[in-house]
């Protein structure tokens, strides 16, 4: 007896639905986009192969814009790529080579498999060859046309960042939308400098992305809007997790850690 006949017999007996009906029932319970979202985690963990860079990420919680301290900003960077690439091809390439498009000064320690929902990627930022600030991101969401990061506690920004490829009138636009507050009072003090660094960094990223698809000399459009001018003083204690302070401490104490591991203490 074939499997197909067997399935029909079961249905006739009223004991179980065939596989197709079971799949439809499951689909009505599990939303079609469930696989695009990260699973809920209370504390972030970092994969072994990049754990050396994840000391400011492991054990932290994610921090959305309302867990931050400073004013709430919405900042958008976009670049018109014309018909050089479609949105899905663009986002597939962006997800696969995300860190490669970063300008000098940033290092993204993502998984070799690219940007996948639930992945936690440590990163380092800082100018020149000097010490870098270590932090990371959680991939909150990823689909064919966009992906979104959330930042962990201690990151410069409590934020949600969406990267997307959007089509209008036959042209593709690469866009980065950031919703952020600085995480704590110290980072808020540095905001006038950091916002210029952000503009340079993300504009550079979009230029590199455009160039990789053969589009040079692009104009990056920047928009910035303050959605809430209030600072959230109740979150001033976020300074405890400040990744700048902790990165500096990690670097200063590195010789002592080496000595300790060499002596087996």
């Amino acid at each position: 007896m074939s499997d197909e006949t067997s399935a029909e017999r079961v249905v006739e007996a009223g004991q179980a639905a065939p596989a197709t009906q079971v799949d439809e029932a499951a689909a009505s319970i599990t939303p079609r986009d469930a696989g695009n979202w990260a699973a809920k985690v209370d504390r972030l963990s970092v994969a072994d192969e990049v754990s050396g860079f994840g000391y400011n990420v492991a054990g932290r919680r994610v921090a959305g814009p309302h867990q931050g301290f400073g004013r709430l900003w919405q900042r958008t960077y976009s670049v018109d790529l014309g018909s050089a690439v479609g949105p899905q091809e663009l986002v597939a390439d962006w997800r696969a080579h995300f860190g490669d498009f970063w300008p000098k000064g940033g290092v993204f320690h993502g998984a070799l498999t690219g940007i996948e929902p639930g992945a936690v990627a440590p990163l380092e930022v800082g100018g020149g060859r000097g010490p870098k600030l270590a932090t990371g991101v959680l991939v909150l969401y990823a689909d064919d046309e966009s992906f979104t990061f959330m930042t962990p506690e201690g990151h410069m920004f409590a934020s949600m960042i969406t990267f997307s490829g959007e089509e209008a009138d036959g042209a593709t636009t690469a866009r980065i939308r950031i919703l952020l507050r600085t995480s704590d009072p110290l980072f808020e003090l540095g905001w006038p400098i950091m916002k210029r660094a952000e503009d340079t960094f993300w504009s550079g990223t979009l230029r590199n992305l455009a160039a990789s698809h053969g589009v040079d000399d692009v104009h990056v459009q920047e928009e910035s809007e303050c959605l809430d001018r209030q600072r959230l003083w109740k979150n001033w204690r976020n300074v405890w997790h400040n990744a700048g302070i902790r990165s500096a401490w990690h670097i200063v104490t590195a010789p002592f850690r080496s000595q300790k591991s060499a002596t087996g203490a």
């Binding site: 994610v62 949600m160 939308r177 209030q230």
Partner: protein, 105 residues
């Protein structure tokens, strides 16, 4: 389906019933819905998601922005009619720290 909205004012509470998808196309609708709700100077803003069938991460970011506006004007927010999946998303993104999730009656 594009997002549509309907606003009801009741004793200091504005309820915004949303229907359709919340994605990047929803920005103008959400802005218009918030403006209509805020016109009644409510202290509580209820977003009714019962008829919302899809929210992506851009949609979540729009809701985060809406929450920012509401909080800056001293309004608390509640979410009604969220499916288990989207309750879970509100928890991952920690929106649930600030938006009270009301069980569907």
């Amino acid at each position: 389906m594009t997002l549509v909205h309907e606003v009801r004012q009741d004793n200091g509470t504005a309820t915004v019933r949303l229907e359709g998808r919340i994605d990047r196309e929803a920005l103008s609708t959400l802005d218009a819905a918030y403006a209509a709700a805020a016109a009644g100077a409510p202290s509580v803003l209820v977003l009714d998601f019962t008829a919302v069938d899809y929210i992506n991460s851009t949609g979540i970011a729009l809701i985060v922005g809406l929450l920012g506006k509401a909080r800056s004007q001293g309004r608390s927010m509640r979410a009604l009619g969220l499916s288990e999946h989207y309750r879970h998303i509100f928890e991952i993104t920690r929106l649930s720290d600030f938006i009270e999730i009301v069980p569907t009656p």
